[in-house]
C-alpha cells in the first residue's frame, strides 16, 4: 500500500504513463531508484494505424469462416446440397453436350455440307399422314440417278445406296444387325467418307458385273474374326442372306455416335445387292458437289430434274414426289434437342441455385444469431461494421464456393460416367468449372449480404449481452 501511495502522481507522469514508463520521473525527482518489477508490461510501441484494407482482418475472417464451417460439418454439408446439385447439373449437361457436339461435328463433317440426298421418304417422318403420303410416291430408282448424273452440271459425284440390315456369318461365327449397304459407283466410298485400311475396293467392272465381293467395316472384323488383323480377313468369304461374299477390303474405323457404331457395315456392289434383295426397292441417290457454295445451285438443278421426271411443274407445292435433303436435317434436329436440354438444365440449375441461396441465407442468419456474442466481442475490441460485414460475407462465399467446387467435381464425374456408358469424348471445360464456382460465389454474396448486414448493424452492447 505504501508503494502505491508514493507512486500516485498521475498528472506529472501523464506522458510517461502512456508509454508505460511511469517510474522515470519519480525516480529522478527524489533520487530513489525505481522499484524493479520483473513482470512489467514491456511491449513494442503501440500501433496506431487502421488502414482501409486490412489483410489481417480479411484473413481472420477467412479463418473464422472455415473454422465455423468445420465446427458445424453436418449443417455445412446440408447447406451445400442445393448449390452442389445446381452446379453439378450445369457442369454435367454442358460437358455431355460439348462432347456430343464434338461427336456430331466430326460425324457430319465426314460427309460434310457438300452432300445431299434424293429419296422416296425423308429421313424424319413427323406424322401418320405424312407416312401415308410418302408411301404413295414412286420409288426412287437407278434411272433417276442416271438422269441426275447426265443432266446436273454442278453435281460432282452422283451415286446410289440401298440399305438392309442382316445377320452376317463366317464359319461358326455370326454377327447380327449388320448394315448391308449396296452402292454404285465406287465414288460412293468417297461420298460416305470412308477409307480403306487393308485390301482394296472393287473395280467398276467387278461392281457392274455383280460380283459377290464386299468391303467390311472394322466391327465385322472384330465380331466374326475375333479381332484378327485386317490382312488375314481379306480373301475370306462371309455369308449374307444366304449368299457368299468375298472380303476384298477392310475399312478404317469411323467410331460411334450416340452409342451406335458406324463401323458395323458391309459394303457390296449395288448390282450384287439387287440380286440378293430384289430390284424393286427404292434407293437413295447421293449427290456431292465440289465446294459448299455450289450446294444450293446443285440442289436447284436436281430438284428441277426430279420434278420433271415426276411430272410436276415448278410451283406445285402439294407434293414434290421425292425428298431432297442435306445432312442439315440431322443438325437441325440435334440443335433443337440440345437447346431444349440446355433450357431445361438452366431451369433446374437456376431453381436449385435459388433454393440453395435461400438455404445459405437461412443458415447464415442462424449463424449470426448464434454468434451474436462473438460479434459483440469483436466490436468491443475494435471491429468496424465493414469488418463484421466482410467476415460474414466471406463465410457465405466460402460455403457456396466450396459447394460450387463440389458441384464441378460431381458434374464432371457424372459426365464421365455417362460418356463412358454412351461412348463420346469427354471434354473437360475449364471455363465451365470457373463459371460454376464463380456463379455459386455470386449466390453466396447475394444470399450472405442480408445476414452479414444484420450482423454488422448489431448494437455492440446488445450483442455482448447475448448468450
Amino acid at each position: 500500500m505504501n508503494l502505491r501511495k508514493k507512486s500516485y502522481t498521475p498528472i506529472y507522469l501523464a506522458g510517461a504513463a502512456l508509454r508505460g514508463r511511469p517510474f522515470s520521473r519519480r525516480g529522478g525527482g527524489h533520487g530513489v531508484p525505481p522499484p524493479k518489477n520483473p513482470r512489467r508490461l514491456n511491449l513494442p510501441e503501440r500501433v496506431r494505424r487502421q488502414p482501409v484494407f486490412r489483410f489481417a482482418a480479411i484473413w481472420e475472417a477467412f479463418l473464422v469462416a472455415t473454422s465455423s464451417l468445420r465446427a458445424n460439418k453436418l449443417r455445412t454439408a446440408l447447406t451445400l446440397v442445393g448449390i452442389v446439385v445446381g452446379v453439378s447439373a450445369v457442369i454435367a449437361v454442358v460437358t455431355i453436350i460439348k462432347g456430343l457436339d464434338k461427336t456430331v461435328a466430326t460425324t457430319f463433317s465426314s460427309q460434310g455440307s457438300t452432300v445431299f440426298t434424293v429419296s422416296k421418304n425423308p429421313q424424319i417422318i413427323k406424322s401418320r399422314e405424312e407416312f401415308i403420303k410418302f408411301n404413295k410416291r414412286k420409288d426412287v430408282t437407278p434411272d433417276d440417278e442416271d438422269a441426275i448424273a447426265r443432266l446436273c452440271t454442278t453435281c460432282w459425284r452422283v451415286g446410289i445406296a440401298a440399305n438392309a440390315v442382316q445377320t452376317v456369318k463366317y464359319a461358326d461365327q455370326t454377327s447380327e444387325n449388320v448394315r448391308i449397304r449396296g452402292v454404285t459407283p465406287t465414288t460412293m466410298f468417297d461420298v460416305d467418307g470412308v477409307t480403306i485400311d487393308a485390301g482394296r475396293i472393287w473395280t467398276e467392272g467387278e461392281g457392274g458385273s455383280g460380283r459377290d465381293v464386299c468391303v467390311v467395316g472394322p466391327d465385322v472384323l472384330k465380331n466374326l474374326f475375333a479381332g484378327a488383323s485386317a490382312d488375314r480377313a481379306v480373301g475370306q468369304e462371309i455369308r449374307v442372306a444366304g449368299r457368299l461374299y468375298q472380303i476384298i477390303g477392310v475399312l478404317e474405323p469411323l467410331g460411334s455416335i450416340f452409342g451406335f457404331s458406324r463401323d458395323n457395315v458391309v459394303y457390296i456392289p449395288y448390282v450384287s445387292y439387287q440380286k440378293a434383295f430384289g430390284a424393286r426397292n427404292s434407293v437413295v441417290i447421293f449427290i456431292q458437289v465440289q465446294t459448299a457454295e455450289q450446294l444450293e445451285a446443285a440442289e436447284d438443278q436436281v430438284r428441277t430434274i426430279m420434278r420433271n421426271r415426276r411430272g410436276r411443274t415448278f410451283g406445285d407445292q402439294d407434293d414434290e414426289g421425292f425428298a431432297l435433303e442435306t445432312q442439315d436435317v440431322f443438325l437441325d434436329l440435334y440443335g433443337k434437342a440440345t437447346s431444349n436440354i440446355y433450357l431445361v438444365t438452366i431451369g433446374v440449375a437456376a431453381v436449385s441455385l435459388v433454393v440453395g441461396g435461400i438455404v445459405v441465407m437461412n443458415i447464415m442468419l442462424v449463424s449470426v444469431t448464434e454468434r451474436t456474442k462473438e460479434i459483440g466481442i469483436r466490436k468491443a475490441v475494435g471491429a468496424r461494421q465493414k469488418d463484421i460485414l466482410t467476415q460474414f460475407l466471406i463465410e457465405a462465399v466460402t460455403v457456396t464456393a466450396i459447394g460450387g467446387a463440389f458441384g464441378v467435381f460431381t458434374g464432371f464425374g457424372l459426365a464421365y460416367l455417362i460418356s463412358a456408358l454412351i461412348g463420346f469424348p469427354l471434354l473437360i471445360n475449364v471455363a465451365s468449372a470457373v463459371l460454376g464456382v464463380g456463379v455459386s460465389s455470386v449466390v453466396g454474396i447475394i444470399s450472405g449480404l442480408w445476414p452479414a448486414w444484420r450482423a454488422a448493424r448489431l448494437d455492440p452492447i446488445e450483442a455482448l449481452r447475448a448468450e
Binding site: Y8, T9, I461
Partner: protein, 254 residues
C-alpha cells in the same frame, strides 16, 4: 508525498466543481464529460439513464464507479468505452470529441484507446488465449509477426506464458480474466475499463485480479472499475458514486 498529490491540477479541478458544469471541457484531462444524458425510449415513455453527468478523469488515475443496480453506472461505462453514444452532451477522450464521431471512428477508439475487461470475460470460445489477445491487433492492422510478439508479451505480463495455446474452456476463471486483461492491454490503451471484473470469480481469485489491477496502475495505466463491492472500490484512489443517473459523490480516498 501527499503535498505532491494536492499540487496536481486534477485535484484543483476536483476542488472546484464549477468547472464541471461550465460546458467547457478540460483539455488537460484524459476523459472530460460534460452534461452527458442518456435517454432510452420505451414505447411512448422516455427513461433517462443519465441525467447530465459531468466529470474529468486524468491520466494515471484509478477510479471506481459504484452504485446500486439501475443507477446508470453500466451505461456510463459503455459511454466511456465508446460502446454506446450519449443522447446529449459532450465527451472528450484524449482531446478528441467522441460525441461527434461516426461508427468507424468509434470502432477505432475502442480498438486503440480503450481496453475492456468484462465480468464474464467475453473471450472467443473457439480461439486460443494467444488468438484472443491478438484480436484487437488484428482489427488494428498489425502484421502477424509483430502481433504474435505483442500478444505473447502481454500474456507473459499477466503470468500466462504457459497457457498461450489453451482455449478458454481449458483455463480457470482467474486465468480467463487474465487473458481478457492481456487482450485489453495489448494495444496500450489510454484507459483500462473493467466492468465488475471480479463478479464471476471466487474471493481468492478476485484478490489476485485486483492485485493485478493495482500493479497495472502502478505501471502508469489509467483504470476505471465499475463495481458494487466496496472492498473492490476501496482499492481505487477515487470513487464516483452514481445514483439515479447522477454523480452523487466524487471522492478521493487516497
Amino acid at each position: 508525498m501527499s503535498d505532491v498529490t494536492l499540487a496536481s491540477p486534477q485535484v484543483e479541478t476536483f476542488l472546484n466543481p464549477e468547472s464541471h458544469v461550465n460546458g467547457h471541457h478540460n483539455p488537460a484531462a484524459l476523459i472530460s464529460m460534460r452534461q452527458i444524458w442518456k435517454t432510452y425510449e420505451m414505447g411512448a415513455e422516455k427513461v433517462h439513464a443519465l441525467h447530465g453527468v459531468s466529470f474529468d478523469v486524468h491520466k494515471g488515475e484509478y477510479i471506481a464507479i459504484i452504485g446500486p443496480s439501475g443507477s446508470g453506472k453500466s451505461t456510463l461505462m459503455n459511454l466511456i468505452g465508446c460502446l454506446d453514444t450519449a443522447s446529449q452532451g459532450q465527451y472528450w477522450l484524449n482531446g478528441k470529441n467522441v460525441s461527434e464521431m461516426d461508427d468507424d471512428e468509434l470502432a477505432r477508439i475502442r480498438n486503440q484507446e480503450v481496453g475492456f475487461v468484462f465480468q464474464t470475460f467475453n473471450l472467443l470460445a473457439r480461439a486460443t488465449a494467444l488468438h484472443n489477445v491478438e484480436l484487437p491487433l488484428i482489427y488494428g492492422g498489425v502484421g502477424s509477426a509483430q502481433r504474435h510478439e505483442m500478444a505473447k508479451q502481454a500474456l507473459s505480463a499477466v503470468d500466462l506464458t504457459d497457457r498461450v495455446m489453451h482455449r478458454p474452456n481449458e483455463l480457470s476463471g482467474g486465468q480467463r480474466q487474465r487473458v481478457a486483461i492481456a487482450r485489453a492491454l495489448v494495444n496500450h490503451p489510454s484507459i483500462l475499463l473493467a466492468d465488475e471484473p471480479t463478479g464471476a470469480l471466487d474471493t481468492h481469485t478476485s484478490m489476485e485480479i485486483m492485485d493485478l489491477f493495482g500493479r497495472l496502475h502502478d505501471e502508469g495505466n489509467t483504470i476505471i472499475v465499475v463495481t458494487h463491492e466496496h472492498d473492490i472500490a476501496a482499492r481505487a484512489h477515487r470513487i464516483l458514486s452514481i445514483r439515479d443517473g447522477l454523480i452523487e459523490k466524487d471522492e478521493k480516498i487516497k
